[in-house]
Symmetry: C3
């Protein structure tokens, strides 16, 4: 009985470890949006060698609209965190597109820069950008742990609440 229990436990643990990033996204109850289109004369990502540079992405919801406003004024920190998480899903959608649909080709999330639309007295940018950082670690585990910079911006395109860009090492 003990052996059976241990076997079942090992099966589940190994299965958890064997989860692909896509399975992980599903098991988190999340769904990637369709990859967004650029709003000007540029592209959403460029690959050079084993690095993918992702354009600045915004918090585009499933219905195509953006989460807008200044965090700390129009949005709470929690709403800012959600906006960063939604932005992270948009980044993952682009990344998946860049990798021919296979997020398991991600070797490491190298760098994440998070820009928060806010007022001069707002100082909680890290708590906001955590929405994206936490998502990357939830999806990729150790490979999702990245170098990061979080900053406050006086204004962002279309008044989006956050803008986030990443550099990713891939196979």
């Amino acid at each position: 009985m003990k052996i059976l229990f241990a076997s079942v436990l090992i099966f589940f643990v190994m299965n958890a470890q064997a989860q692909t990033p896509d399975e992980k996204i599903t098991s988190l109850g999340l769904q990637l949006p369709p990859a967004t289109k650029p709003i000007a004369n540029y592209v959403k990502y460029v690959r050079t060698g084993n690095l993918i540079f992702l354009s600045g992405h915004g918090p585009t919801k499933a219905d195509g609209t953006n989460i807008t406003g200044k965090v700390g004024k129009d949005l709470t920190i929690e709403q800012g965190y959600d906006a960063a998480r939604v932005t992270g899903l948009s980044l993952l959608a682009t990344l998946k597109d860049a990798l021919g649909g296979d997020l398991s080709k991600v070797v490491r999330i190298v760098k994440l820069n998070g820009y928060v639309n806010c007022l001069p007295d707002f100082t909680e940018q890290p708590k906001v950008i955590n929405g994206c950082s936490d998502l990357m670690v939830a999806v990729f585990g150790e490979k999702g742990k990245h170098a990061r910079a979080a900053m406050g911006m006086v204004a962002l395109p279309n008044n989006i609440a956050v803008e986030i860009e990443m550099v990713v090492e891939v196979k």
Copy 2:
């Protein structure tokens, strides 16, 4: 007659494709300014492997003065677009210098980050930075299509209207 016309057409199309980036700059009626000097203890670019990281450049005109002011307040969006284009010419001058005078060594404009000097309610950063993005695509074609981030800054050095930096893959 048809064959002659087709031949001439093919000649022009091939010629257009065979244009070097420098010829393209000339055919656009543009001229690169002299490469600017850094204003502090740094350099205008560093090459590492096949990547060139370009410093943040400003809209330095042919006479050495900068286009200054906040876009949306002191400058219109159109004037901001022009400032971004002038900044792009300055970036190309540095890039040419970095490549020993030969812009045809550019493999890909990888990433472009554009920072717009503006007020908290300005949300048209993409339209401004297009001035530089459009230039890169005009000069390099498909190789000029880059990943991008555009943001609003509360203030920039010497009150320049825009600051733009790039990462470029080269031969």
Copy 3:
């Protein structure tokens, strides 16, 4: 006598050139702080190939507190310069940690982005960020000369005076 003097001179010159970055830091009368810990779900640096991407660092003093406030309002330019220098020491501490304690593995400081917490009318960001740039050149000589961008931010995490990130090529 002349030969002895020349020999001594040559010895000192060669010795100066042979100084490791760590010896240089000591000879400058500086001391690296302990490497700081991330304040959220990210890491202080990620290495990919021969490049190290360092997270945005702040001006954390030896006692663990930060230099805070807006430069040009709460701090003078000189105090801002000092904050950038302190931030540079924190970056070097992380870099040393990343290189197993051996800063002589640095091949080149590739890129340095400096973000200054300031008001809309502040335009001396380069003079502030020089505090970090000058340090890198003092420690690494020619290898310390980097591409750079300096910008003004409406707000920074925990109201730190400056935030600086770097890309470094290493052996």
